[in-house]
Subunit: 217 residues, 2 copies
């Protein structure tokens, strides 16, 4: 937990800084100036200096920022080292891909369980984990206390499943369903991935490429 | 193509309206008041009236909005009926899931080709389509003129592939890689799905649940 006050718009940019710094670190680069970082990221150098000043990271004249310290500082503000326990609910194609595609441990989470309603696929493995039936969800949560759930189930089951998971102590959702958890369930953290919204936004952008706002966030 | 000027923040909300209206339509509901819609969506009724007024949709006193007309009007502003041709590049787990999980045709796109560098998986089917080798990409694009590419390839190949696709006439990208297309390639439409950024944002939210901003956009 971090006590510094950091404005929300800065927080929203942190994953992107983290991602760029990770790449630079992998390339073996030790320092970077705000100017170079700004060129790579397509953000102004003064925006970068302002953002990083927010959490007390100051570049050194002639050296720039230490990539390692900056990377660690941003990771610490995001809370990545403070691993939270995650479960995946719904092990269809999407769920399976999510479970295998992401480096959970370097993004702040430990994936400790995978559940599905379909008894046919229960017992089969995804990576090192075995899919468990939903009938074991309650006892598992009581024993292991997961913090967040990744929802990859059909939308029509999402409301009921959300209630059940909150009842079982889940405090956050990575929501791949269309169901609007944040609206109906206050007091839990929600991050939505609405793929079809994203696709429709792209459709608008491709149809309106002459407008000034084609890629603005 | 639509000639009405609609502010960008309104455009960004349109996929969400579209999604809710689709659900209401599926439930057989014909009309809805801004008040009811606002309760379902967790937006104020005056925000909804203001948004919908932007493109000349006015509710009728006592009846509310016609769901069918509103759904069609929003679809038309987004350009969903004006289907664009899409190809998927990268048919690993993520690519396969994207190809099968989404209803492309109701989101403005017709998925016409799937390509992968791995000759081993070329010739195998995803849904009704056969994975083609990247060696056939150029001739395919010259013959079929796809409008957008869905990028599900490893990040290290993304820069080169983006250049190649733009050269081949691709005007938009649904980008699942970490590569920052919008920054390096001006004049193409880009919509990013950065799953690891989303996961890190959730990490911050779960670690800072007592803050006022836990789920703000």
């Amino acid at each position: 937990m971090n006590n510094k006050y950091i404005p929300l718009p800065v927080i929203k940019r942190l994953p992107r800084y983290h991602r760029y710094l990770e790449e630079l670190k992998a390339l073996g680069i030790s320092h970077i100036s705000s100017k170079e970082l700004s060129e790579r990221m397509g953000v102004t150098a003064s925006q970068i200096r302002q953002d990083l000043n927010c959490f007390g990271c100051f570049g050194i004249q002639g050296y720039g920022y230490s990539i390692k310290s900056l990377y660690e500082e941003i990771g610490s503000i995001l809370g990545l080292e403070n691993q939270k326990k995650a479960i995946l609910v719904g092990a269809g194609n999407l769920g399976k891909t999510i479970a295998t595609h992401l480096k959970f441990d370097s993004r702040g989470f430990d994936l400790i369980g995978i559940f599905d309603a379909d008894e046919e696929i229960c017992g089969t493995a995804i990576g090192k984990m075995t899919i468990q039936p939903l009938t074991k969800l309650n006892s598992f949560c009581k024993r292991r206390h997961p913090d967040i759930a990744i929802l990859c189930i059909p939308g029509e089951n999402a409301a009921e499943m959300t209630d059940r998971l909150i009842e079982l102590g889940i405090k956050g959702f990575w929501n791949f369903t269309q169901f609007d958890i944040a609206h109906t369930h206050k007091g839990v953290a929600v991050e939505n991935v609405h793929l079809s919204d994203s696709l429709m936004t792209l459709c608008y952008r491709v149809n309106n490429m002459d407008g000034p706002d084609v890629n603005s966030k």
